[in-house]
Amino acid sequence: MPVITYREAIRHALAEELERDPNVVVMGEEVAQFNGAYKVTEGLLAKFGPQRIVDTPISEAGFIGMGVGASMLGVRPVMELMFWSFYSVAFDQILNNAANIRFMSGGLINCPIVIRGPANGGTNVGATHSLTPENVLANTPGVKVVVPATPYDAKGLLKSAIRDNDPVMFLENTILYGDKGEVPDGEYTIPLGQADVKRAGKDLTIVTYGRCVLHSLVAAELLEKEHDVSAEVVDLRTIRPLDIATVLASVAKTHRVLIVEEQKPFASVGSQLAFMIQKEAFDELDAPIHRLATIDAPAIYSPPVETEQLPNPQRVLKAALELLA
């Protein structure tokens, strides 16, 4: 099976969907001529031309709103945010317009947009460029939220997201763009709302998503080798819709839960997960639900300290051992 990078996986998904559906348009800052700030869209302009791959001026509220408006007429824009941190500039267009137009019209309209881009800390770019807003997005009825951790997941989920008739928020990670993984050549999609057990285990369940999946897998190796602990790692893949059934099945097996998320703690995705798990699987739990999140402060710049602010394999290991103590 071919091995490609996460970046290439996204690019291939875009190219395949552009090929498949003439209504799909990729737009964003530097996506065309510059080949993408993170080279995700490299080569697409040459292949598909300027009608399909569109460089926008720096005006997120303007071009995201424009995409939402065009989607009401059947265009399917895939809009790139150079950083998901920039979503706040377009907050009204995403969370008041894209999310609500179907409801406010009594179901007469739908907005089949995708907004994609990297949402992560860990690159020393400071507090305003390091937001991970999946919790804010997932709090909004009307939108869907996807956070893939691997090239295979990224490609299959992005294709599904583009074909989805609801607004889909697709959160990538600049640090994952270079990661390599097996991705089949042929056509495949992964449905939204389907979690994936990335590692089977029996002593505790680590529920996580995005880059934290990789940290959790490293920690799980260490737990096994150095502590004889078998950790199950459940990758949510999609935050909304949420495959809580897979999570609960894992809890029923292991009876201990550690949520690992690159989120500031208050009202994070994990906060919602914890409520759901304790509500629906209370009798399965042998311990309170633990949660490892980003240290609760704006993202620090200083490189080695930022590594400690975010979840990392050592912090996951430590949190797992605390849970098991």
């Binding site: 348009v25 009608q51 926008t56 001026p57 005006s59 509220a61 303007g62 071009f63 995201i64 709103g65 424009m66 995409g67 939402v68 408006g69 065009a70 989607s71 009401m72 007429l73 059947g74 265009v75 009204d92 267009q93 008041n96 317009n97 137009i101 179907r102 409801f103 406010m104 019209s105 009594g106 179901g107 007469l108 309209i109 739908n110 089949p112 009825p141 009307g142 869907k144 599904s160 074909r163 989805d164 008739n165 609801d166 999609t189 449905p191 939204l192 709302g193 389907q194 979690a195 999609t238 909304r240 819709p241 949420l242 495959d243 809580i244 059934a245 919602q272 759901m276």
Partner: protein, 365 residues
């Protein structure tokens, strides 16, 4: 509430010469008698619908906000009367006039105000969110200026599909300073998108006058974007049609955007909640009502043309009142949505389960 359409206005000699010019503009000269009557009738129907909804609001049948279009009727009627099959309209929350002007039935409109399931948005949107995609009418939006990028998007979609159409994106004088509006202007001008931005300048954002809100002139800001612009009065539908025609053609045929500022006036407060006693004088309102009321203006013009007579004016008025009353009766008799209805029309996938591809939970109650 006035029982007559308006008190008799005194015609101004210099105005009437100009008004005849507008009537002779090609886009108006070709109007049949019936079409002229229809323009007039639609304005009266809007007026009576608004007055009836005000009474319903005061009787506590309508909750939330109610932003009345009374005094501005000529703008929506004139603009929407020129829509071709590939033209599209979007506006802000003072949207009842546009809804009626594009041809929506007033029964579901009133039912929507009453929050009934028979409303045009099944009771889920309310006054600020009337939509009719099949009439190329895309709302009805509550956040000031938030609809303007959407309007640019409609134009983008029209152009992307290779259609010869124009999007009309309406906003008030209070919206022009929102950042999103400037972004939308830039995109439209940069990419030659067929959108005509229409500023319905009624002089006030809620209670803050244009002079206290905006630096410089409003439509003139188009110069900064190398975009065409126009400025006219919105009291005479002939004038609005004559001015808008040029810009709509440029949009449809050459994909050229423009900003058109139309001076109009609202008799009522910003919304029904506005006591309307802090920012303008009663004299100012009366002066407008006496000399520039659009229904009165057009009535006089059409009477002078021999198109309207007193009997027809009376008939149109009676029918408009009856229509508004029937709409209220329909609304009153209709049921509310159920609590189970709350989570319908949120996700396309949830509403179309046979075609749903995703798994997992979409709602988290």
């Amino acid at each position: 509430m006035s029982k007559k359409p308006a008190s008799t206005a005194e015609p101004k000699p210099d105005d009437s010469a100009q008004r005849s010019d507008h009537a002779r503009a090609p886009v108006n000269a070709g109007l049949s008698r019936e079409q002229k009557i229809e323009l007039y009738r639609t304005m009266v129907r809007i007026r009576r619908f608004e007055e009836r909804s005000l009474r319903a609001y005061q009787a506590k049948k309508i909750g939330g906000f109610l932003h009345l279009y009374i005094g501005q009727e000529a703008v929506a009627v004139a603009c929407c009367s020129m829509m071709g099959k590939d033209d599209h309209v979007i506006t802000a929350y003072r949207d009842h006039g546009h809804a009626i002007a594009v041809g929506m039935d007033t029964k579901p409109l009133m039912a929507e105000l009453y929050g009934k399931v028979t409303g045009c948005s099944k009771g889920k949107g309310g006054s600020m969110h009337f939509f009719a995609p099949e009439k190329n009418y895309w709302g009805g939006h509550g956040i000031v200026g938030g609809q303007i990028p959407l309007g640019t998007g409609l134009a983008y979609g029209i152009k992307y599909k290779g259609l010869k159409g124009a999007a009309m994106a309406f906003m008030g004088d209070g919206a022009v300073n929102q950042g999103a509006v400037h972004e939308a202007y830039n995109l439209a001008a940069l990419w030659n998108l067929p959108v005509v931005f229409v500023i319905e300048n009624n002089g006030y954002s809620m209670g803050t006058s244009q002079a206290r809100s905006s630096a410089g002139d409003l439509a003139r800001r188009a110069d900064g974007y190398h975009m065409d612009w126009g400025l006219c009065d919105g009291h005479d539908p002939y004038e609005v049609r004559a001015v808008m025609d040029k810009f709509l053609r440029a949009a449809r045929e050459e994909s050229k955007p423009a900003i058109v500022e139309i001076r109009t006036y609202r008799y009522r407060g910003h919304s029904v909640a506005d006591p309307d006693n802090t920012y303008r004088s009663k004299q100012e309102i009366e002066e407008y009502r006496r000399t520039k009321d659009p229904i009165q203006v057009f009535q006089m013009l059409l009477a002078a043309e021999g198109v309207l007579n007193d009997a027809l004016v009376e008939q149109i008025d009676q029918e408009a009142r009856a229509e508004a009353d029937h709409a209220a009766e329909f609304a009153e008799a209709s049921p509310f949505p159920t609590v189970e209805d709350i989570q319908k029309d949120v996700y396309w996938e949830a509403d179309n389960p046979a075609e749903r591809k995703s798994g997992g939970r979409l709602f988290f109650d």
